[in-house]
């Protein structure tokens, strides 16, 4: 097989005010014709910059300062602007992560899909238009003729990403570079897109270079993988081999830090402490050495080269370069089973919660549209227990979190917390409740006031509620979450995402709450940092006996943390069960699909078609009916809440009728 893309010792430098940052520092890899290569690394590893360098889409102050990029033997770095314009979009194409900003908001879809077909002289405008509609159809865009005349903002994220793929494939490129194409999408939609891309590779022989921080995504699509760290490639090889038998300690940490569906429930995840090196002050030797538990003295003194240890496998490590394997991770200690306080009244009890919002009117005469966010949710939580709530975007889980913490008042239903009815509490009484019921938010950058020092942020609630010695408590809190108490004088922007989430957690703990509602606390973090924060939360939970309401879209994360899990769809719980039971034998078809959509290498997938229905108009009968692979006529009736086992409830006419295939 001939190589379609050869990258040799690529070096890209950013000339910032603070100094020269070598974002890509001597990266080499090859993509064969028709092959799928995955590039995995955390944010800051240089993977996106590599892709942009290959396509020469860098803006100043970034510059390519070394190396070669050969496409079918031609030197891309030496091309003139005209040759570059000919090559881009025709022989090689790129798909970007953010489909909302990547599509021009004022131009119609069809013109964006077909303009470069005409520009490259491959077709006349009318033929190109037909070709465009055909492309949209092939990419699975619903009603392609109508879609062609529409504008980007009228589409959902999944549809827009399909449009981006259509744009990429318009001129039948030999190479498609996809930079985090599914990162912003829901799990089930992500499964659809990955399926689509696999199909493109099989049917048209398009080579795909997939960039992602998600090992599961890469594992499910790519045959070969290259792992990047701190601007370098540290390991390459066939995906299955690298994932099951990683040779570089960083790859090892990545592969094992991912919460998987087969790890024990609520168990600690292997993770490595620390952060990637400061690009302005790279270590002299191996860049991973400061965090590596296997390091030897040579690692800190000399910089290791990328060495081939077997045909098709290479690794950049002094310890494993002789071909030895790395020890498997120590089995995570099984968590202590949750204390069954059966006779105690539940800490939190919510019944029939309903919340809807009226959207602003479009015109004076139109009726205001209503978003039905939460449509009858009942839950209970015992002291020290953690309940996970899983669902995709739009299912209402964030609204539910805000109902429980009384940021909003429910339109119907009741909430009892520690025996007190808090449904309509207001004013002073509500503020008196606050210390016992706290929240951690999703966005580490928006949940801390950028103008206050960390110490002030933590001390403020203490002062307001009359705490005796705020400073001492602040120091103790910082220590509890694994941060240096001396950093209380710093501002939030001086911390990384993971550290900011720790500060958020410290803030939630400040008032000694009994219950913490965590709204997607780790969704915005890299895999390794995610593992660190989850471990912290596990430890705190064990130590302080906290109860958690843990909201997430990622099933595996929930599995790592929660005793019980509830699956939410269109404002209702469709299934509720102890975690182990839910993952072992899911009963509701949506749960089954959700589980199988989690990208894991070698897993058979049930790919759900279509998209979640809009919450503006609730469907009659079962909300999942339109997408359910095993829907029956009776599903037009509202489904009953069936208790199929003690503690297990399913909202379905025929629970258990959808089975997963290809387990293992």
């Amino acid at each position: 097989m001939t190589a379609i893309l050869e990258v040799r010792d690529l070096v890209t430098v950013f000339h910032t005010d603070a100094g020269a940052v070598r974002a890509v520092d001597g990266v080499s890899f090859t993509v064969q014709r028709g092959e799928t290569l995955g590039i995995v690394g955390e944010s800051g590893s240089g993977k996106s910059v590599t892709a942009q360098s290959i396509m020469r889409l860098l803006d100043p102050p970034a510059r390519i300062e070394g190396g070669q990029v050969l496409f079918e033997g031609r030197d891309v770095l030496a091309m003139s602007q005209a040759e570059l314009a000919d090559w881009r979009g025709a022989s090689a194409a790129m798909v970007f992560q953010d489909s909302l900003t990547g599509l021009n908001p004022v131009l119609r879809i069809l013109s964006q899909v077909s303009e470069h077909v005409v520009a490259h002289g491959r077709m006349a405008p009318s033929a190109a238009r037909r070709h465009g509609i055909d492309l949209l159809r092939r990419m699975g865009v619903a009603s392609p003729e109508r879609a062609a005349a529409a504008f980007p903002h009228q589409f959902s994220g999944g549809m827009r990403q399909r449009v981006m793929l259509a744009i990429g494939m318009a001129n039948d490129p030999s190479l498609l570079i996809a930079d985090e194409p599914t990162t912003a999408l829901d799990v089930t939609i992500q499964a659809q897109i990955l399926d689509l891309m696999a199909g493109l590779n099989e049917k048209f022989g398009t080579a795909i270079m997939l960039i992602s921080h998600d090992l599961g995504v890469i594992g499910s699509l790519c045959r070969r993988i290259a792992v990047m760290y701190a601007g370098e490639v540290v390991e390459t090889g066939p995906t299955a081999e690298v994932l099951h038998d990683p040779r570089h300690p960083y790859a090892w940490a990545l592969a094992n830090a991912v919460p998987r569906l087969d790890t024990p429930v609520a168990a600690r995840l292997p993770s490595i402490e620390g952060m990637p090196p400061d690009p302005l002050a790279m270590p002299r030797g191996c860049r991973f050495a400061p965090r590596c538990s296997l390091r030897i003295s040579r690692c800190e003194a000399e910089h290791p080269p990328l060495i081939e240890i077997a045909p098709g496998r290479a690794v950049r490590c002094w310890v494993t370069m002789d071909g030895r394997r790395l020890p498997p991770p120590s089995l995570p200690a099984a968590a202590a089973p949750p204390r069954m306080a059966a006779a105690e009244p539940p800490l939190l009890e919510a019944t029939g919660l309903v919340k809807h919002f009226a959207l602003p009117r479009k015109s004076v005469f139109a009726k205001p549209e209503v978003v039905h966010a939460v449509n009858g949710v009942s839950l209970h939580l015992a002291r020290g227990e953690s309940l996970g709530i899983v669902g995709e975007s739009g299912c209402g889980k964030s609204t539910l979190a805000r109902l429980i913490t009384r940021l909003h008042a429910p339109n119907a239903g009741s909430i009892r917390f520690q025996g007190q009815d808090i449904t309509t509490l207001g004013g002073e009484a509500l503020r008196g409740l606050r210390p016992r019921l706290q929240m951690v938010f999703q966005d580490p950058f928006a949940s801390l006031n950028p103008r206050m020092r960390v110490g002030q942020i933590l001390a403020e609630p203490l002062r307001v509620h009359g705490h005796a010695d705020p400073e001492a408590r602040v120091a103790a809190l910082l220590d509890m979450v694994g941060l240096n108490p001396a950093w209380a004088a710093r501002f939030p922007h001086e911390f990384s995402g993971g550290q900011r989430q720790r500060i958020s957690i410290a803030r939630a703990l400040a008032l000694d709450p009994a219950l913490i509602v965590a709204d997607e606390p780790v969704s915005a973090l890299d895999v390794n940092v995610q593992a660190q924060v989850l471990n912290l939360m596990l430890e705190l939970r064990a130590r302080l006996g906290l109860a958690f309401l843990f909201i997430a879209h990622d099933l595996a994360v929930v599995r790592a943390f929660c005793d019980r899990v509830a699956v939410m769809y269109l404002g209702r719980f469709v299934e509720e069960a102890p975690a182990a039971d839910l993952f072992a034998s899911p009963a509701h078809p949506y749960t089954v699909a959700l589980l199988s959509a989690v990208p894991e290498p070698g897993q058979g997938r049930i790919v759900l078609g279509g998209e979640p229905p809009s919450s503006l108009r609730l469907p009659q009968g079962c909300a999942f009916r339109a997408r359910c692979p095993v829907a029956r006529p009776i599903c037009a009736e509202p489904p009953p809440l069936v208790e199929i086992a003690p503690g297990r409830r399913v909202l379905c006419h025929a629970p258990g009728s959808l089975q997963r295939s290809g387990q293992g």
């Binding site: 790129m94 131009l107 520009a119």
Partner: protein, 322 residues
């Protein structure tokens, strides 16, 4: 809203510390109470407030804006007489500002930090920072007083006859009548005031275009367009500019207000017989019917302009359409 607006105008001009009577009659006549009373009655100033408002509204509906105390003619007639001069001047200025400003802004954004960018930024800075009345004076002093290149103040040479044309727009009328000498004369008199009036608007448009283009050129969709292999020219004009124009158009209302302000100053210095100078004189003479009339007419057109801007915003940006 419009009703409230008219009420506001009415109230302003009636709750006034100054006394228009004195201003108009002069000291000698004003000392005679009989004359004052007669004068007041003539202008309806002795009626109760709400009655006067009623008269005012009724007059409005009939297109009667009252009578100017200073010129003794219906205000509406005054406005109609003076409007063409201002409209002609303002239109030429606005077109100049657009035709120069937008390309300059685009060029400044594309070749950032080059000499074009520097020129654009200096020009727009001076345009925005210089007081219009001063700029008018400087231009007149340099090009008329010192260099003698430009003709003096006024729309035409003092000895020339104004054209008899249909529109009141001298450029149009002289061309219509085939009077090429008059056309040249009109043009020569137009240039200086047009440049002065255009200056502030030019500055605003250049700045905004440049900023909008810079912002758009950084957007992801521009990167995607380049990744498609489109030529740079296409990327800039079709993708970036189309988006950049949206904030520029919404400037329309502000630009209009600028032109008005500038018109008052410029016309005064260049002795241009337009609405601007009329406004100035009415304000100085405390001629309240005139002030009210002008405010009404100008505000109405201002509302119209803003409405047009809102509509065009919906046309340009599909996200707003819903």
């Amino acid at each position: 809203m419009a009703v409230f607006a008219s009420l506001v105008i009415f109230l302003i001009s009636n709750f006034v510390p100054g006394d228009p009577v004195l201003a108009q009659l002069g000291d000698i006549l004003a000392s005679d109470p009989a004359v004052v009373a007669q004068w007041r009655a003539k202008w309806g100033l002795d009626l109760p407030l709400w009655e006067r408002y009623g008269i005012f509204l009724r007059g409005l509906l009939h297109g009667d804006l009252g009578q100017s105390i200073a010129t003794r003619r219906p205000v509406l007639e005054d406005i109609v007489q003076f409007a063409p001069a201002t409209v002609e001047l303002a239109t030429i200025s606005f077109v100049m500002a657009l035709v120069l400003g937008i390309p300059l802004g685009i060029a400044a954004a594309i070749w950032r930090d080059s000499w074009i960018d520097a020129v654009a930024r200096v020009l727009s800075l001076v345009g925005v920072s210089a007081p219009t009345f001063w700029l008018a004076f400087i231009m007149l002093a340099i090009f008329y007083g010192w260099l003698g290149w430009a003709p003096g103040p006024g729309r035409l040479d003092p000895i020339a006859f104004p054209p008899e044309g249909p529109s009141g727009f001298f450029l149009f009328d002289t061309a219509w009548a085939g009077d090429w000498e008059g056309f040249a004369d009109t043009l020569a008199h137009l240039i200086l005031p047009a440049i002065v009036l255009a200056a502030a608007t030019l500055g605003l448009i250049t700045r905004t275009t440049r900023a909008a283009m810079l912002d758009c050129l950084q957007q992801d969709y521009v990167r995607v367009a380049r990744a498609k292999g489109l030529r740079e020219r296409v990327v800039v004009l079709r993708h970036a500019l189309r988006n950049a124009l949206v904030p520029v158009v919404t400037l329309g209302g502000l630009a209009y207000a600028n032109l008005l302000t500038g018109a008052v100053m410029t016309e005064t210095i260049f002795a241009w017989p337009g609405l601007g100078r009329y406004t100035f004189r009415s304000a100085a003479a405390l001629d309240f019917p005139a002030i009210m009339g002008i405010t009404l007419v100008v505000s109405a057109t201002y509302l119209l302009v803003n409405l047009l801007v809102d509509l065009s915003y919906a046309v340009l940006d599909p996200r707003v359409r819903r």
